[in-house]
Symmetry: C2
Subunit: 279 residues, 2 copies
């Protein structure tokens, strides 16, 4: 039997291998500076941090370790969001007192501390992550300040859950953290309910999710209108009026990379593997 950390790493690998996954790096498509091999190396590097989360070490330290390991490749940010989504799920799966359920994962979120928040900020020093400007008045808490923001966190006594909660309006991973990981567990059920190769199922559920809600990574990197157009094109692909392969070429050409949706698939794959999904 694979360990919890092994399942989390495997989920990252299966996610990137699914194709077509319009706009994202997958087994058949890559960008010149962000390649399939960077995701392989990134996934390998996350394992030790994921093991820490499974073994009950603090979530922030586990996340920082996973992101540091992930960054040991030259493609930059490969799985920051996916790992952020995974760590409370991994902690819940690993803990004797929780279970891998929405309630168990939420309990792991709620147990986070100011020290976890500090390590989360430190993780932004390991890799460049696309984030929007903070709302007016919250500049001292800008994650891009990295560890320089830690005194501001400490004086306000913000836990990691508090920090993440402030991003729910702009970040789909933050919404999962505060909303019981609803889309993640739905994705897991959809993957479990499919048939055929796991990577094909993951790609199919990716398109479902992309058609269902705007991808917040696209909204951040481009704008809300682009993200809405991406959602509509994915819906058209689902209905059969656009070939998903054509859509994949189109999005890659435009540099549209729906990363948050991919992160949720990685979380869903992890949940499904923990619940016994055969590969």
């Amino acid at each position: 039997m694979r360990t919890t950390a092994e399942n989390a790493e495997l989920a990252l690998l299966l996610e990137v291998a699914g194709t077509p996954k319009p706009g994202n790096v997958d087994r058949h498509r890559e960008y010149p500076d962000l390649r399939f091999e960077h995701f392989l190396a990134g996934a390998v590097g996350t394992r030790e941090g994921l093991r820490m989360a499974a073994d009950g070490e603090p979530l922030g330290a586990a996340f920082l370790r996973a992101v540091s390991g992930m960054s040991e490749q030259s493609g930059g940010n490969t799985q920051f969001g996916a790992v952020l989504l995974q760590v409370p799920l991994v902690a819940a799966a690993g803990a004797a007192e929780h279970e891998l359920t929405p309630g168990g994962a939420t309990a792991a979120v709620e147990a986070t501390t100011v020290a976890d928040a500090a390590d989360f900020y430190r993780a932004f020093e390991a890799v460049e992550v696309a984030v929007p400007d903070p709302p007016e008045g919250l500049e001292p808490l800008d994650v891009r300040r990295g560890s320089e923001a830690i005194p501001a966190l400490e004086s306000r006594e913000l836990s990691l859950a508090d920090v993440i909660e402030r991003s729910t309006s702009v970040d789909g991973i933050a919404r999962e953290w505060v909303g019981g990981f609803e889309r993640t567990f739905d994705a897991a059920a959809a993957i479990e309910g499919g048939d055929g190769p796991v990577t094909d199922r993951a790609a199919a559920v990716f398109l479902d999710l992309l058609a269902d809600e705007v991808d917040t990574f696209v909204a951040k990197r481009h704008d809300r209108e682009t993200a809405e157009r991406v959602r509509e094109r994915a819906a058209a692909a689902l209905e059969g009026s656009v070939d998903p392969e054509t859509l994949a070429e189109e999005f890659v050409a435009e540099g549209i990379n729906p990363g948050t949706t991919a992160d949720i698939i990685a979380g869903g794959l992890f949940v499904a593997l923990e619940r016994g999904l055969d590969v």
Copy 2:
């Protein structure tokens, strides 16, 4: 910095991701029952055994653990030969008294014991591996007997190196073990000397190796004539008279899977990563 075990796992992942790699499962081609995802899960499962080898635990126990972990997927044998090639290299890289050189890896081979040989035989119980019938008189040592053959090993006082040496006439991995890992180190140098994505370099060196010597896995699964024809076709692809993509389709259609050549690439990628190859 990645650990030695992380580099060994990453080498397995980079190897299977390289394309076109005529006849083998790669990023663009798979068999219905032996899929890309099986290789991802297999690689993840090897890590703990590879860690044992890097930490100086007995080579046989490390190999058995790696193969057991590798087998936790439904595709069957994915990386048995690659891991067999890797363990002495990993042991040499991890040991304070050796170095990752032909001499260091040979010292790790020569240090193997009868207990290592027993664990090697146990590994054949974890997964079905293609092996030829043993020579006349050596039936008691048939690896397919698994742990039942251990008393015969013990009474003859055969170390793992002794066992492997008996296969050099039919097995390219065995030849590496007894011959200072010559093709593996040559592959590492060729990968290091290339440019562009690492997976493309690995695929190019795969074709070079396949054109250079018959693949012993093809010779075992089919016959010597088929293996020689495969070598000639690979040489034609190298010279440009056959498109490697066409060759890949042709070999997959015939079920010709040059696994030993792939194993040597996985070994070469590991050596290159340990020597600082950037991904």
